[in-house]
Symmetry: C3
Subunit: 267 residues, 3 copies
């Protein structure tokens, strides 16, 4: 069984490499796929959204994720099994739940308390290395999830609030969830939200960002627009995103996750 | 057969990890070597040069590369087989050709049109995930290149223009192709260009960058120069490059790819 | 036998991928674990500290490390075997020694001079690719370390000076060794240094950084402090570090490795 691995550790430090080492010492045969370690430091919401977006494209396995501002505090360490057999390991802070629910929901959840499956000693600040990586590696080797600790009610697991858009008749108030390397701004909108507004490919809309207004056009892809044109398009994870053809929307708008975006239909 | 993988996706987002996942679902046994994902966003030329530089050092396999500003537009998706048996997969925008030609040329090329070897549905903006990664994984498993779609004339493949230097009797006009992490500036020059100018290790030259002039010395390696000295040296890929011993040339000169560099022999 | 790999190459360029390729051509079965390639360019000290911190968590194997400002100069290329059987490959500039000594010391050291185990030709500036990666791959395949070249006295190996703190009765003068992605500042101090000062979890201290003074509290972990509070804590590698709960210490203090930090007990 392979392990997929997502964190906010970045690749500048040794954190990711050290966790790989810990897993490989416990499970020398296991294969590890790094989804990304570029989640914004301590952004649980971004980590949860990326995990839910990507997991359907990844082989089934043990899905290890660590974005853990509460490390060393009283948030629990948890592992759970999805109804489709996938296993999840990480902090109980909402990070894993959207992915597991998208893939059919949770069958059984356990708190990780059994120190036989952790490194000794457990540090106060690096549970990725000392608790989560060992747990994932032991699960990948076939240890039963119930060995890790007592069962917990799936309903008791921490849950994130995902910001919802306000979709009116002629106007949407959304927010930017994510900015990618190409400067594309993913919004908390889907195609059906735009359709309720009446926007189809080719429709012109007005965007309001940080009190500035811009014209944009709904488009299928970048090459449907002229260079420099602002487009609204459905990205590869079925979110509506803002891009500038041949440029960077995030740079042009100085946009960051959390920024308010208003979309108004133009007559 | 293994897969090598080069893109401009960066490692901050999930794009690379997701493509790994897609390939591993199709070809669980395949090994993937990441050449780099740090190509400047949408810089086809840089991607092509790095691929041509590095492929001779990599095991033969399926060479997947994606730098694809035209995704979703009318550029073709292609796969081809080199005369030495290597396989190439990527957009038909010139990215793959310099590497394949350096390694002996192309034996057969095919457009990738067969949707049996793609994910379903194919998004408009992430063909790396939906078309190229699946095609590479199927080839690595032994699918014949002709299964992917109809043959195309190798001569019809898109070709990049690589900027050529002007080499005069006492003066060269070159440009910066690439800046690396250490601030070394790779030029579109080889040792033979410098030799035509009469510059050998130890020769002093004048550099002109952005209207400023500097003295530099041709040297074999960094440690042949005093700290702070500007050197011209043949880098590990046999290009002439500019470095500052113990410093960063790119920072000192605020240099970026595309910048003009003039080199004049000093009497 | 697997290979662990640590460098200052970064992941933007192809350097790491090319070395992977070189190793895989020589030893197709070998597994490579990347510890990190984010060591600050040419910071031998940081590389040495990270290697010594992390190696105990990694499987035993061939430990390849390259941070090599003297490449092409007269520093030697070396390989050595630790008393516990681990093998080390890299430049003789002090990079490998702290790790090897932490893990029991060196049994035998050899200069790498045998060009049968190098690429041909050897470039002047990329020994990571041309000498060190091939040597590591051959060792991983079972080549004896003595095949690489003549034995050298372990005592003759280059040794780094690690900055030592001054620990007085009421005051410590330390320095920042390392800043991580989360902005935590690792100091050249251990818990016993703080204990000699009389600082236990809960003790308040005064920090002096760049002539500015701040109150801080010794704490076990981030969640023991209020948001915005400055804490001194023992990090996961048993160094004392400075953090800001819910923030970035390095950003707040504009701190970089090498910065002076004074810690005074508050009555």
């Amino acid at each position: 069984m392979l392990i997929t691995f997502l964190t906010d550790f970045g690749l500048e430090d040794d954190f990711v490499g050290t966790c790989h080492g810990v897993m490989k010492r416990i499970a020398p045969e296991v294969e590890i796929i790094d989804i990304t370690h570029g989640i914004q430091p301590q952004s649980i919401l971004q980590g949860a959204l990326v995990l839910a977006n990507t997991l359907p494209y990844l082989p089934e396995g043990v899905h290890l994720a660590v974005v853990d501002p509460g490390v060393g505090g009283d948030r629990r360490e948890v592992a759970f099994r999805g109804k489709d057999g996938r296993l999840y390991v990480g902090p109980d802070n909402g990070l894993l739940l959207p992915a597991a629910e998208k893939l059919g929901g949770i069958e059984a959840a356990h708190e990780i308390t059994n120190r036989e499956y952790a490194l000794e000693p457990v540090s106060a600040t690096f549970h990725g290395r000392d608790i989560f990586s060992p747990a994932a590696a032991h699960l990948a080797r076939g240890v039963d999830i119930a060995e890790l600790g007592p069962g917990v009610e799936p309903d008791s697991l921490a849950r994130l609030e995902v910001p919802r858009p306000e979709v009116g008749e002629r106007r949407i108030r959304a927010c930017c969830l994510y900015v990618d390397r190409f400067g594309n701004m993913q919004l908390n909108l889907t195609r059906s939200d735009l359709q309720r507004l009446g926007a189809e490919p080719g429709t012109q809309v007005e965007l309001e960002l940080a009190s500035d207004r811009y014209y944009a056009v709904a488009a299928r892809t970048f090459t449907d627009a002229r260079d420099g044109e602002i487009i609204l398009y459905e990205d590869a994870y079925e979110n509506i995103a803002i891009a500038i053809s041949g440029g960077s929307a995030a740079e042009t708008f100085s946009a960051r996750p959390g920024v308010d975006v208003r979309i108004t239909l133009v007559d």
